[in-house]
Each structure stands twice: as structure tokens, then as C-alpha cells.
Symmetry: D2
Subunit: 332 residues, 4 copies
């Protein structure tokens, strides 16, 4: 149950009521919001006179539910707003991994030249083998921060586990919670305490319900800037790396109020399929696209097969603009 | 291996060579074509002088492979051509099941009024329970044939098992091999002997390789009019009926020469998601779309939840035209 | 709903009632049994006085449900009974495919020597490529029939599609409906009209509910000799050929009244894992095991990697006897 | 590549060689062991004279591979040894969650009375909703430690994320890395630095290769006490909670040298199926079984449906002993 307390209730009173109900509490636009489990179906008599509005739910998708907020939430990435009624599709690009200052600067220059605003690049790579390249870690973060300063770009990078979540929160403009880390409460609870946008990737074995419930961990802590990112399920089909679940995206658009950014690069796993899948994604009227591009994919230290060349990345943007326009969106 | 025999070789000589090689044989545009398993990597000395051209393959995707024919094949449905360089996306609609003459006539009238050419409707329904509505069978086929005669529409309907495949081949303009029947050699081999277009749906547990190999059963029998249809995989996600595999479609576009028609209705399972998924499909530059629509979905005898209303079907077409145009295609 | 009519009702009256209710009708141990869809929850007033007993169901698992018959059904294979209270685990072996008279005779001799009763061997192979070995077809059936005559063995072989179902019904003692054919109503309805045992394999993409509903197609036609066979699901894991679903077997044992035979050979896909998986299967207290063995797996025309040698097959039986005994079963 | 340095090489020389090769280094039974990525196929000339033995691998399953150590590794849990040639199957039980001192003491008493040695109980629960019971956390750990002291039992409990990994390492005898946390390098790297046994559960969307590579994170840090635990894959089948992958277990037994403990409780999700699945597991000759049992499952705060009663737990043990014996194992 979500409860909006009356304006007359002070914040400390709100905290006390939350304690009694074993509820989450935060303040949103001046309103004291309380959230309990969805098992609670009735407002207790004792606090009835303190409640302005309340919402009852069938399951634990509550703050993210259209039943609570019918309109899509807005999230601000630097000076760019996505979601709400903006009809913006933010086009985020950059390499899989930050590999060197030289390499990431070339990516930054490409974006700037193309009029784009937001640079991706992994520093803490969630590799499945201890013997692979594990990313530049903190050093990579510092390089990204340098690019932001030099080029005025927003930075999005991934947190791999709870040991460095504060480091990422400090340096990134958008905190990416990766597909393998999205059940990690150490990360989610830390993200709940900042106000920076958090992009949560759906695990490849994660149901839609669990996915949105991961967002509830962040939302219920008071951080309302949550973006969902679908990047492919693991299925029996192995000719492609994963299976992008656009049926699931249709479900999320129907049932949740969160902006959605899609990642066709990881889903496909092969550069040849990224442009055509990107066009499919954009035609759904989505809030953003996350694309991997590298100045020379053949020598990339990770995900070599799926990164676009810089030329391919430019051509992709050109082909996406009319598709976005055909459904009333703009690529930003 | 695919072999094109020299023009000088007669058809009866070709049959004899095919026998020796244990190969499939058919004549395509005046050329005697032989196909053996992909295990054969070299032309036997004894027939070297009879061969005009040959192609060696890594696996049993041969006739359907871009390595054999780089350009997409054309298939003619009535007077409409799809595939090749046509950039046509055929928009096929109609109810899940033919339920009565009155009902299917309303569908036919709708299509005619919208300027569409091809009507779908199931007669032999592959229901998983013996206690559900099993379709009108032969009687339904006769109704479809009547609609063709009255309205000049092309008819596409599904064959469920080999017992009635000849009946469907006789009455339909496009023979649909359903997702549950696509391994059925009794059906595939019968379809190989006609020249009518055959639309093969991918099984929900079928790999891309098996899917295209089902097409090889038809192609190797000499029927070159094969269309592939992706309609969703069965995954762990159950909030949608299936998971439409658009990564797989990107793979098919890259590796095969067959036209592709997509079926978002069955994948999604819920009408609310069909329009947005249809836009995603069309933005991929596909050869057709198969959409379920019913004059009153709430009383449909099968697939009630996923069929569009006739109004919804009209609105969908309107929204699809600019999307198709944005990728250089036309809805026909 | 299942209805048992009173003894006083004649068979022709029963047929007439069945017609009125749009119900399946058959006679079992002298009782007229009617089965409607599970949507029917109440006995119509008009026939109340004709009903001896009735059962209402939540879904279309009816005749196979423990709610109808709590005790496991018995099925007779030749002179061997499985199911019921027999605690027999029938051990069925033989090659993937019948390849020659010589080869299948060696299999038959092995079984006879080991005191086993039932020989498997595929004649109509449901291969996914048209360019692979497709089985010996009718000729293979004749060889199997010959082995039965010579050695007194029971024969189990697979029907691939409806075009040859009568041929298999005529020659086999147990009709195997393969994983790729189990939705095929042409086959299932033909099996419903014989009284021979029918072993239905679960499709690799088939839910438990659909699996049991395939059995309902046969049961509702009056053939009560149905055996379920789990042989592995298709999952994302590709180091093994399929994923044997023993959780599903536990579910079937709890909810259905049908005997269960397991096929670890196809699930595993590699001979090394077949013995250890077979022991797991037998420890569940199952009604049978279907194992592929070949006199020389390295030259087998199909499934070479998963077939045991004849020595391996003998050792397997030796290791299984104490496992079966530990759960109160006997290998027969 | 794994390299064993000659005895003559000092540890500090070994560290220096490891640095040069960018290799992991640890000392095992007096031998300096170095591990590089499997991409390295040849020993560099410069160190050839320092190498005693080396092993080359196709992929990054190296320390866990039978190619390196053919015999199964031993792991000591308190005074009980599993793995190696012990043929012990350790039977671990206890509730899903520690809920109160009273509750966990009853579990401990049960185990003691049954002659068992190792108690499970979750403190940091990886729930997918923020609104569910999240476990007693540190307080629960203290209760478990108390039970160890009072009853002399070994304690196994789960680490959910890296924020409390040190807390679990300090208090548990076996550190359980849960299915949702097994990609977490913050956890795995911390576990690599202790010598306590680490039980890694396979993620429900995790391939066998990724699963064993998670073990490589721990092994390559020098902790050789790693146990693998299969607990079910997420598949399309939802009548059971997960699908226990015993084909995968057969693969692990064939290819890796790590002890294997199975968890049928989570796989099945329903108490009725746990005994029969446990018998299947034990018949495979495994190193342990992890079973959930609660004094009153109906009031359990988590996993109510799958926990056995204490009576059920006793009966299970009784039924398992002969099964274990039938394959030459003993339940301990």
C-alpha cells in the first residue's frame, strides 16, 4: 500500500507512523509518502485521519505502477529530460570498456561532433572469468570524469558489486546497475540514497516482476529517478547472444510508469544486427537507446563482436531519426 | 552441396545423377538443380564435366542460404509480390478461427474496405486440449474459398497435421504450417510438391537452424515459394504469452534468402501490445505482418485476449504506414 | 467434467447423451464414461437421474488426473505389467535407428540374453534436416516385426507423422509418439482408436499441462493405455543436449495417474552421462527407462554420441538393480 | 595455463614471475602455483627452466578441471570430509530463514538428535521485493553462532551482497554464495582470501561454464575449498519453481574436480516433491544434499511451500540411506 499523508503531518510524525507500519518513508514534492508491503489492504483506523490518499495493490509493484502514477515519470540526465511527455529518445553511445585515455577521448569527440550528450563506458566489468580483462576500475572512472569536464558530456557507467558502488555514485551522472548485479541489495540500497538517475538492467534470467521490484528497492528509498533497461534474455537460441524481449517492453510500457532505455548491442551480440534492432526499438516509442561503439572493434578488450565502428554509429543515428519521427519521437 | 548441371544435361540424365548422389533434384528456371547433404564437400570426378556451378556449405542450410542466393527471394501471393527488391510489407489480417459465414464475411469486408488483399482464418486449430473448440475443419475451408470468390481476396489458413494437408493445399492461396506442426515431414513433403506459397511458422522451442531446415524440406522438393514466420519463443517470462525473437529475425535477414513475415499477435498474447510490437516489426524492413482481428474479440472461440477489434485493426494500419515509409517500405 | 452413467443406461442411450452434451464417450470396464470440457461444472437437471458418479475439474487434465483415479493406471506391454502396484521398472533398450537386419538382430539377441523383454528402434526418424538419414521406414518396421517373431520380444517404435501412423499401429506393440509429434492430432486421434499402449514423449518446449493434455486426446477416445515419457527440455544450457526435467516428473507423479517412463539418453546426449542419470531416474520409483544402445555407436547413423555400447548397457543394468531395490522397485 | 614452479623457486621469486605473466599466484601444499588466462598456450622461454609442470586449457575452466586434477577434491566441513574418495553424502538441513532463537534451536536439536552435523539457516535473504521479510541479518548470524557453540554443529549461511561478506566469513563454517550473487566479484574475491569452505550456488540463468568460472574466482585466489551447488534453472515450466538440472550435474561430475551438493528444495518449490527428488540426487553419487525443513512450514516467513516438516525430514533421511548405499555412498 502507498499512503500520502496529509500536509498537516510533520516529517517527524511521518517517521513515527512509518515505524508503526514497518513502512518505507520518503518525501516527494513536499508530500510524506509511506509504502508498506502489498499484503496490507486496509488503512488502520488509528491513522485514517492522517491519510490524504492511498493506493492498494495486488502485488509488490507499487511505486512503479501505473495504478499509482498513470503518467510516465520524467528523469533528467544532465540537461536532457526523458520520459514524461517529452517524447525524447536519448541516444547513448560509447565503448564497452574504457581502455585508455586516448580511446575514450575519441569516443567523446565522436559524440560531441554528432550533437549527442551522454557517453557510456565500463570501468568495473562483470566478466564471468577471473582470467579476462576486468576493466580499469577507479582509474577508468577518473578518465570518464575527465571527459565530462573537457567535453561537457554526461557519463553513464556500470557498478559491478557493492564494494565500489560509492565510487560510481560519486563520479557518474547515471549509475548503471548491470544485468548480473540487479538483485544486489547492497547496490540498490546505496542507489536509493542518492538522487542521481539509476539505470537498472534486467537480468537475462529475470522475470518482468522481479525486474520492476528491483526498481522498487530504489524508489522506496526515495530516489525517484529510475530507468529500466531491457538487454536480452538467455534462451535456448545461441546464434544470437541473447533474445531481446520486446514483448516484455510492451508489458512494461502498459503497466509501469518508468522510462525505458533499450540495449540492442548486448542482446544481439553481433554488430550486423544492431542497426536493424535499433530501428525496431525506436519504433516502439522508447526513452533511450544504449549502443556500444568503438574506434576499432577488432581490437576491443571486451565485446569485440558487437561494437559498431564510429562510421557505423553515425549511419545508425541517421537511419533512426526518421523512424523516431514516424512515431512522434525525437532522438536527442 | 548444391549443384547446377550444365544446360546440355537432360532432365532424365539429371535424375540419374541425382540417384547416384542420393541427391534431391528439381528444375528451377530451366536449370537442373541437385542438392546433397552438406557433408559432401567435393564434386565427384565422374560428374565434374556435367556441372556448371556448385556451392559447398558448412551445414544443412543450403538452398535458403545467402551463400547460394544473395538476393532475397520473391514470393507471389495472388497479385502481390513480396521479397526481392519490392520493399513491400504485406499486411494480412483476419480472425484466429473461422467461426461462421457471417463472421468471416465481416472480416473479408473489412479487408476489402481497407484496400488489403489477404485474409487469414484458422479452420483446423491445433488446440492443446481435446475439450476446446477444434475449428470448423473442412467446412471452414469452404467458407474461406467462398470469401475468395466473392471478394477476390487471397486466403491463408493453417494445416494442423498430415491428415488434411491436401485439403488445405487445394483451397488456400498460402499454406500456413503452424508452430506445432513445423517438424511434420508429412506436411512439409506435401508442401514441397505444390507450387503454392508456404508460410512456415517457427516452433516456440525451435532453433533458428531447425527453423530454416524445415524450409529446406520444402525447397529441396522444388517448391521455391517459402516464407518464414517468427511468432515468439517460449521462455520463462509468462506475463506475455511468448517472447518475439527479433534478434532471431536479424539473424535470418543476414543469413537467409527467404522473405519474413512476423506474427506479433501470438507472441504478445494481449491486444494492448500488438500495435507497438507491430511498429517494431515493420521498422525492421520485413515482408509482411500477420495480425489477428475479430469483429468482437470478447466472444471469439479462440485467442480472445489477443485479437484486435476492427477499429483497432484500422488504426494499426494507419500508424504503420509512416513507420514502413521511414525504412523505405510500403504496406500493401 | 467426467460422468459415469448408471448401469441401467444402454450404450446407445449413452451415445445420445454424449451428443447432447458435446461430450466424448467410451466404455471402460462396463461403464459408460462421458467427458466434457472442464468448463462444465454442474450436471444438467435433465440427466441427473442417469448419472452414477461425476467429477468436476479446474482444468482440462481430467481422465489423467489423480482426482479422477487416485491409483496409478496399469499398462500391459506384452506379458509385462507396469504401473498400478506392480513396482516394476521396465528396462527398454535398442538402437536409435533400425539400420539393417544384422544390426537389429544383434540388439535383439542382447536383450534376450539379458532377460529383457522390449526392444526399441526407430524406423521413421523425425530428423530436422532433409539431408540426414531419415530411417528405413516401412522396411524397418518389417525387420522389427521379424525380431518379435524370432525372439518373442515386444517392439516399441516411433510414429513421426500422420501419414504412416496406421503402419506403426499395425506393427508395434507400443506406439511411441515422439517429442516433435506430440501435438499432432492426426496421430493422437488414431492412437485413441486402438487399444495398444501409447508412449507419449514430452516435447522439449512443452509444458506439463500440454503434455498431459496430449494424453487426454488418447484417453478421451477410449484408449486407456497411455504412458508418459519425459526426455528433456530445451534450455539455454548447451553442454548437454537437453535438460531432463525430474521436477516435472515429481509433479506428474503427484498429479496424474499415468505410468511414467524416462529417457535419459536423449536428455543427456552423451553416453558418459547416461548411467548416472539412469540411476537418478530409477531412484524416483518410475515405471520404465528407455535407453539407446548400439553394437558400435561410432558408426551409428543417428545419435552416435549418446548410444551406449552393448557392454555399457549390460553394466548399466547391473548397477540399476540395487538402486531400484532401494526404493522398493524391480527392474523387469 | 596452470604452472607449477620448481621447489627451488622462492615465494618472492614466484610473485615476481606472476607479475610478469599477469598471473594469479598461490601456494598449495608447498607448491607455487601460477594461473594465467587460457589464451596462453606456451610457456615463455624466459621461465622454462623454472617450471616443474604445466597444463594448457581450451577455456577458462582450469583449476576446477579434471585435466588439472583428475581426482575429486576433498573439502572439510568441521570434522566431516566430503569429496575425494570418501563417498560421503553430507545431509544438511535447517530452515530457509533464521526467524528466532527458539525456532533455530529446535532445528539444531532436531539435527543433533538425528546424528547430523551441519545446520543451514538464512540471515541475509536475497528477496526480490523490498517489501518482503529480509532476514534477521547480523542478529541471525549471532544466533547461528550460538547454536554452533551450544550444539557443536557446523553452520552454513548465505551471503547476499558484498556489504556483509566479512560478517558471514567470520561467523559461518561454510559460506554460501547464493544463486543471485554468484557473479558478484566483491563476494567471490573476499571468499578467495579465506580458507573456509565456500558453497557456490548456480544461478538459475547461469551456464555450466559460467558456474565453474565463478569457482575459478575463488580457486585462483588460493582458496581450494570450493563446493558447487545446483539448485534449479529457470525454464518455461512454472508448475514447479525451477528445473533441477541433473544433466548438468552429470557434466560437472565428468569435467570438474569439485564436490557437488544438490538443493532439491529450491528447485522443486513444493515439499511434496522434495523426497523423491532427493532420492534421485543421492543415486547420482553426490557429495551432499541441502534440504529446507521448518518446525511449522505453514508459518515460515519465507519459502513456506517448500520446507519439510521435522517429521518429513526424519523420514527423508531414513529413505535416503539405502539409496546412498545402493551406489556405494553413506549419508553423513
Amino acid at each position: 500500500m502507498i499512503l500520502h499523508l496529509k500536509q498537516i503531518i510533520t516529517e517527524s510524525q511521518a517517521v513515527s507512523i512509518a515505524d508503526d507500519l514497518n513502512a518505507f518513508h520518503f518525501v516527494s514534492k513536499g508530500i510524506n509518502v509511506l509504502v508498506t508491503g502489498s499484503g496490507m489492504k486496509e488503512v488502520p483506523n488509528s491513522i485514517e485521519d492522517k491519510i490524504d490518499q492511498f493506493w492498494v495493490f495486488d502485488n509488490d509493484i507499487q511505486l512503479a505502477s501505473k495504478k499509482y502514477k498513470a503518467e510516465k515519470r520524467e528523469v533528467k540526465i544532465g540537461n536532457t529530460i526523458i520520459g514524461g511527455n517529452t517524447n525524447n529518445t536519448i541516444f547513448i553511445g560509447g565503448p564497452c570498456s574504457v581502455e585508455s585515455e586516448d580511446q575514450i577521448r575519441e569516443s567523446a569527440e565522436l559524440l560531441l561532433d554528432m550533437g549527442l550528450t551522454t557517453l557510456r563506458g565500463g570501468c568495473y566489468k562483470p566478466r564471468t572469468s577471473p582470467y579476462s580483462f576486468q576493466g580499469m576500475g577507479h582509474e577508468g572512472l577518473i578518465l570518464l570524469a575527465k571527459m565530462r569536464k573537457e567535453f561537457g558530456l554526461n557519463i553513464i557507467t556500470e557498478v559491478r558489486d557493492a564494494t565500489h558502488v560509492q565510487d560510481v555514485i560519486e563520479h557518474a551522472d547515471v549509475i548503471q546497475v548491470g544485468a548480473k548485479a540487479m538483485y544486489d541489495q547492497g547496490i540498490l540500497r546505496a542507489c536509493a540514497k542518492t538522487n542521481k538517475p539509476v539505470l537498472i538492467k534486467r537480468g537475462f534470467g529475470t522475470t518482468l516482476k522481479e525486474f520492476v521490484q528491483a526498481a522498487e528497492f530504489v524508489l522506496s528509498g526515495g530516489n525517484e529517478n529510475v530507468i529500466l533497461c531491457e538487454r536480452g534474455l538467455r534462451t535456448f537460441e545461441t546464434n544470437t547472444r541473447f533474445t531481446l524481449d520486446l514483448c516484455g517492453v510492451a508489458w512494461l510500457q502498459e503497466h509501469t510508469n518508468l522510462p525505458i532505455i533499450l540495449d540492442p548491442s548486448h542482446a544481439m551480440g553481433y554488430a550486423y544486427g544492431v542497426p536493424v534492432l535499433s530501428r525496431a526499438c525506436v519504433a516502439m516509442g522508447i526513452d533511450g537507446l544504449l549502443i556500444e561503439a568503438h574506434r576499432d572493434p577488432s581490437v576491443a578488450k571486451s565485446d569485440a563482436s558487437q561494437q559498431l565502428t564510429h562510421d557505423g554509429f553515425r549511419e545508425l543515428l541517421t537511419s533512426l531519426r526518421p523512424v523516431a519521427a514516424s512515431v512522434g519521437y525525437s532522438i536527442v
